[in-house]
Chain length 169, copies 2
């Protein structure tokens, strides 16, 4: 939506040599940003800390894991809801297949989507402070799919600051 | 097996004020160490980087995630087998249950086991350099269960340095 504005902000941060405040939101430029929210895949997310695993039944038939940046991880550990601004959650989803080496196990076959939630209460006042991004092969899916994020999170997990995933011990 | 020796090593490191070389192996004292291998749950493992998720079919019916210390993660990223000494892998296993908020998903119900592999080729020459530990509520399971680790890893994944889990992209 405010892509020209985002772009100028990104340039401004680059010009003065500091990082953008919320790397998931603006740092990679708008061309790979999600519709509606302008969320991008955050740099370095694959090395973030682990929150919890999940499985999704067929037809998706996926294994999933949610990782978080330090702000999000600290919020989980402190039980501090709502998540503070700067929290970023990334869900990694994989098609699952039976392990060739250990029959009772299913393991990742290949990645399907990367899904991102960025908390920025000033930027996303109309969605309870959250911006959403859903990516396939690094590219955001379309606006119609992004419209479904908020309504689902709103209807199902408003008492957990609109976040499904709980921290696994 | 060499618990008195391990204990004196741990004391020696403490006395001269440096960390034990492989934290999963000796740092927490031998009273919570696994039979046969003397492996303990490594300090801080829950904040380690994420390698891959898995699911295990009933009767275990578990969701699992494997985390690794930086030595292990770097070995995965560089495709460098065998894993170098100092590599530690930790598998977190959880009973799975249907999500109360999103019916197609299953999520962790409660932790079942924590399973540890420590690479130390000098300490574990008889098991291809790997020491194993399997823990329930922080306590190692018995020697009979630990005897099964090596034979299973040996028979199924010797071509991947005796490690089942692959790095998920």
């Amino acid at each position: 939506m405010t892509s020209a504005f985002q772009y100028s902000i990104a340039l401004s941060f680059a010009a003065i040599g500091i990082a953008a405040p919320y790397p998931g939101a603006a740092e990679k430029g708008h061309e790979n940003a999600s519709p509606i929210y302008g969320v991008t895949i955050p740099e370095g997310y694959r090395d973030w800390k682990f929150i919890a695993p999940a499985e999704e039944a067929p037809p998706l038939d996926e294994l999933r894991a949610v990782l978080g940046n330090d702000i999000a991880i600290n919020a989980y550990k402190n039980g501090a809801l709502p998540f503070p601004d700067g929290s970023i959650l990334v869900k990694l989803a994989y098609k699952r297949k039976q392990s060739a080496e250990f029959a009772p196990a299913t393991v990742p076959e290949g990645p399907t989507t990367v899904q991102v939630m960025v908390k920025d209460s000033k930027k996303y006042p109309a969605s309870h402070g959250w911006g959403f991004g859903r990516f396939v092969d690094g590219n955001p899916v379309d606006g119609a799919q992004h419209k479904t994020c908020l309504s689902c999170h709103e209807s199902k997990v408003k008492d957990h600051d609109y976040v499904f995933t709980r921290y696994a011990p």
